[in-house]
Every structure is written in C-alpha cells, then in structure tokens.
Symmetry: C2
C-alpha cells in the first residue's frame, strides 16, 4: 500500500513507524511544512521521501493528515479536491465536528474517513515519534456511514493492526467526550503550571521537592500550544462547559477548607474516588 | 538497629521493605491500629512482629511514625513521653509546622527528627507497600538544629542509604512548598474526577476513550481521603492560597476562550511551557 503522511510530527511520525513495523507500507511519502522537517523525518527513518502535496497525493492509495486542527480544514479541502477513484483520505484530528461539517457536502466525501487515534504525549515534532505508539488505545471513527464501505474497512484494518480499539460515534458526541477525557486535562495542567510558576519564585525548591504526583499532573503543561490552542478554539463550547464545571468543583474544595468542614471535604474526596471504577 | 514502625501502610510498609532490602534492620516491629492490619503486614513480610505501642517503643533504637497527620500529633506526644536516652523518633508526615510547633517545648525534643520523604502513590494500606520506593526522591528534614546531632546523622544516613536527596528547611517553608508541589496536585485531581463524574453520565465512553493524558491527571483522585483530608486541613492556609491562585489561572483560560482571544490563549500556554525548565 502506498501511503502519504501530511504532517510528520508526534502523531504522523509515530503512525509512519507503526506502518513499517507492522508491514502495512514499505514506502512512506511525507509532506512537511519545511525542508528542515522533511530532512529530520527522513534522517529519523520516519519517511522514505518528501514530496510536494499534489505529487504525493497523486502517487498514494491512502493519504493520512496529521497536522494541527486549524490547518487541517484548508489542507483537507485541497486534498479532497485532488483525490480520484478509490483513494482514501484519513485525518487524525482531536476535534471532529468542524471538519466533518466542512466536508459534508464535498463531492468526494465518501473517500474520507474521519478518525481520532487517542494517543499522544507532551512532546511534538518528528523527534517525538515513537514505535508502538497506538497499541491498546481507543481510536474513534466518526460518521462511518458517510464513508465508502471499503475505505472504512481498510482504515479499520490498519488501526486494528496497530492494536487500537475501535469506537464509533458521531462527530458532535466525539467532541463532547474529548472535552471531558482529554482537553480539560490539558487545561488543568497548563493552569497548574502557571499557578506554581506564579506563586513559587524559589524555583530550586520546586525542582528539588517535586515528586511523582506533581510531575504526573503537570506533565501535559509541556504540550505544544500550536497543537492545543486550535483544539481548544475549535471545541470551544464543550471545553467552556467542562471548564466551568471544573472551576465550580474546585470552589467546593475551597469552600470546604474555608469553613473547615471536614465532613464535606471527605464527601468530595470519596465521590472522586469513584473514578477508580472507571480508570483501573 | 532495632526499629519500630507505627503505621504500616503505603509509607511505613515501603520504609520497612527498604530497611530490610538495604540491610539497615533485620527485625522490624510494627504498631498497627487493628489486628487485621498487623496480620496483613506480617503476611506481606513488611514486619516481623506486631506489638502494642509501649512495648514496641521500649524495645527500639528508632521509632518511625507514618500515620495520617491528624493522628500523628497525639501519637507522637505519647511516644515522646516514653523515649529515653538516645532513642530516636522520626515522623514521615506531609505537613510539618503543626507537629513541630506542638513538640517544640517537649523535654525530649532533641530525640525527634522531623522528616518528610516526598514519595507516594494513590494507593494505601499494607498492600500498597513497594520495594525501592524512595530512591531518587527528595526528603525534607525540618528544624535540624532542634534535634540531637547524632540522631540527625543516623536519620540522614538511613535516608541516604534509601537513595533519597536530603533537603533542609524550616517547618513553615516546608508546608508552603508542599502546598505548591504536592497538595494542590491532589486537589486538582480530585476536582477533575468530580468534574468528569458530574458531567459525563455515559461512563462507558470515558472508560473507552480515556487516554494517557486523562489517566495521569486524574490518577491522584484515587488517593485515600483519610490520609489527605487531614493534610489539607492542617495546611489549610497555604492550600487555600494556592487553590485561589489556581482558580484564577483557570479563569484566565476561560476568559481567553470566551473572548476567542487566540493570542492570550497562546500566551497562557507558552508561559506554562516554562515548567519544562523545572520538571525535566
């Protein structure tokens, strides 16, 4: 199978490695924003060659788009205008409603499979790509019914070979769930980093004392703003909903402490403990 | 060296394992709240025998107190009244100011070394104890000057053998730093769990979609309220300070999204990225 990956960073680069590791593609073409990225991606063994978008698309059976969600829409429109016959276009974006809506009336809509492999780290760029990235994680496929049957089957087959668990939902439902289980975690982590940086001027003390708990909650604050700002903006209404709820939950802790209400504090924490039943 | 551990849970049990692994103590006595805990701790190989507090203290060179911080103060007073000669008493509490203040005028103050080994997981009880728990982490020793020189040297030697990095500060400074690098992370995590549990009724969707980011930020929400509620209450003022700042940092994200101010959103996230320089 001839595959082009548009955007060879954390996701695209890891996808390229997985394609080769699983024997799905021998030759992977990359489309990158800069020659520098292309050189890096080739040097790291992620792609075999870098080509301009039009040429890459014309040579491929499947085109995988893994770039920030704000640039995904214009790039996808361009790609969708170029595809012919049974070429398959897949995106890997963290938001789905805006893109699916933009492409809903496109003449080649059936060539497109909307997907979100739910894996990531706080790192970005070709250097962030890792082997065996997606195994054991969920991959959401949206609006399956709007895609060509064989295109969907092909994409499902690839994700399954990567070890992913397929989940199906409509684009709006995806964006709501993603706000809860991914986007809010990033905002709290960014805000926690800002809290500590604001209040704690003796940085050596943080460095020396910061234990496992702090590192795990603040890890996501290292994430790339160029990837996450567009996600938050595109999923603005859902993210604002969850963020408002989160602030009100924090205020409950504040109120329990202000009033020295130990019972209420216990109640809040015991309720939170129920997450054990969901996240093993 | 004969050592008694009062409270053989996550910290005390892991400390017991480390003492044996490093050849610091061959025989470890446990003091537990219930016969059930004692039996578990013996069955798990954490302690060799369980004794009542008075008898255990009388037979030991060093008494290690690792129980929730609300019970630490009365138990420590009892232990401090019992010690004689050059017996050493060490606590492992996550708050230091209240305890140090309570014991400041005690006739045996010099027998006491105030410590906080900064390691933990979201699990509790004897079953939560693990080997090699403390290696590479910071251990704070407070008010070193109020402890006997040889007692401090002995405690430092033990923590160093466990692979910990010793940090010295006064008790109030410890509590401020602990609020930033540990206590607030737990509150945000509890609140995040409550947010998701409140808003997301389709629990299967969380279970299926929750990726690495969510798990790492929400992990601490599994922590034991009986351990954490007393910590938050004892360090109430510092925790409230940091919590207020955290809520105001979250409001900045809310405001940036409400106003669709992409530049401000970038600015907030780029500032948060500075945490990279502190947490490698």
């Amino acid at each position: 199978m001839k595959i082009t990956i548009i955007g060879v960073g954390l996701i695209g680069g890891s996808f390229a490695l997985a394609l080769k590791d699983k024997g799905i593609a021998k030759h992977v073409i990359g489309v990158t924003r800069s020659k520098q990225s292309a050189d890096k991606a080739i040097a790291l063994g992620l792609i075999d060659e870098a080509l301009p978008l039009e040429e890459a698309v014309s040579k491929s059976d499947l085109i995988y788009v893994s770039i920030p969600v704000d640039t995904t829409i214009p790039v996808m429109k361009k790609v969708m205008d170029l595809v012919k016959g049974n070429q398959i276009v897949v995106d890997a974006g963290s938001t789905k409603a805006a893109l699916c809506s933009e492409l809903s009336g496109h003449i080649n809509r059936r060539n497109f499979v909307a997907s979100h492999p739910m894996w990531g780290t706080e790192y970005s760029g070709p250097e962030a790509a890792v082997h065996n990235a997606f195994a054991g994680r969920a991959c959401v496929i949206c609006e399956k019914e709007k895609s060509d049957l064989t295109a969907v089957a092909e994409v499902e087959d690839i994700y399954k070979k990567l070890g992913m668990n397929l989940v199906y939902m409509d684009a709006k439902a995806h964006d709501i769930h993603a706000a809860y289980v991914s986007h809010i975690s990033h905002i709290t982590s960014f805000a926690l980093a800002n809290t500590v940086l604001e209040k704690e001027k003796e940085e050596d003390a943080i460095f020396e004392l910061a234990g496992g708990g702090f590192e795990s909650t603040v890890r996501l604050a290292k994430s790339n703003p160029a990837m996450w700002a567009p996600i938050f903006m595109q999923n603005r209404e859902n993210v604002l909903d969850v963020l408002s709820e989160h602030i009100s939950q924090l205020r409950k802790f504040k109120s329990a402490l202000e009033k020295e209400n130990l019972n209420y504090l216990y109640e809040l924490m015991e309720n939170a403990n129920k997450i054990k039943e969901i996240i093993k």
